[in-house]
């Protein structure tokens, strides 16, 4: 294929191409804002007073700061979550290719494409689940075992 000279790097392309992105951005902001406002509007608002802020008669004055350190378990689970979560990005190219119906004509017919796509995804999921099974068996997810 042709090597692309540096000049073409600066080739212009219209903001219109990015419209979906901006839409997504707006949507995200909107959603966040709505939730905050909603809670603000719907939530019962009370007047702050010393009596409200202090502990009740039966209670005890707080001695330590509220910021207690999380159990390391949180990190472990979080990390595992991230990994399995991120693996899913590979569904996208798969789905796009499958959905686009093989424009490049790599497979002789749709039948072959479907078979291949199915097998591929099964292998992928199989490996993923094997990993998950291993994690479970290693008791990495259950909380009690320290």
């Amino acid at each position: 294929m042709r090597a692309i000279a540096a000049a073409t790097v600066w080739a212009d392309n219209t903001p219109g191409d990015y419209l979906p992105l901006f839409l997504l951005l707006g949507l995200a902001v909107l959603l966040g804002a709505t939730q905050l406002i909603a809670s603000h509007v719907l939530g019962k608002r009370g007047v702050p007073s010393p009596a409200k802020d202090s502990a009740y008669e039966c209670g005890i004055e707080a001695e330590t700061s509220a910021h207690t350190r999380f159990s390391v378990k949180f990190y472990l689970v979080a990390v595992l979550f991230i990994l399995f979560d991120v693996e899913v990005v590979f569904f996208f190219p798969w789905a796009v290719f499958f959905g686009s119906g093989d424009p490049a004509g790599i497979f002789e017919n749709r039948q072959a494409l479907m078979q291949f796509a199915f097998a591929e995804m099964m292998v992928f999921l199989g490996i993923l689940f094997l990993g998950w099974y291993w994690v479970v068996k290693k008791r990495a997810l259950d909380w009690e075992e320290a």
Partner: protein, 99 residues
């Protein structure tokens, strides 16, 4: 808005990340900076992919994301292990192996 701008942005982010890795002491921050570097590279891929007009760049982004996740996950795990042994996340105190 052109590919060039995006590439420049990616380069800037990359540099910021690198400075973070080199200058910050808190290992968690260092890991964040690494993540930033990898993702700026991913951004560059998107830009160049748009320029080249094929999907290779976008595909590469997925790989980068996954690898970045894996590296940071391992990084975190090791930090936790280290934290278990020695209650610090300060790189300056990770110096057992200085000769």
């Amino acid at each position: 808005m052109t590919v060039g701008h995006v590439v420049v942005l990616a380069g800037t982010l990359f540099t910021i990340g690198m400075l973070g890795v080199l200058s910050r002491r808190n290992i968690l921050i260092v890991l964040l900076s690494l993540e930033l570097m990898l993702n700026s590279a991913a951004l560059a891929f998107c830009a160049f992919g748009d320029m080249a007009g094929n999907l290779d760049g976008q595909i590469m982004v997925f790989f980068v994301i996954v690898v970045a996740a894996a590296e940071v996950a391992i990084g975190l795990a090791i930090v936790i292990a280290l934290f278990r042994l020695r209650v610090t996340v300060d790189t300056d105190r990770v110096d057992l192996l200085k000769q």
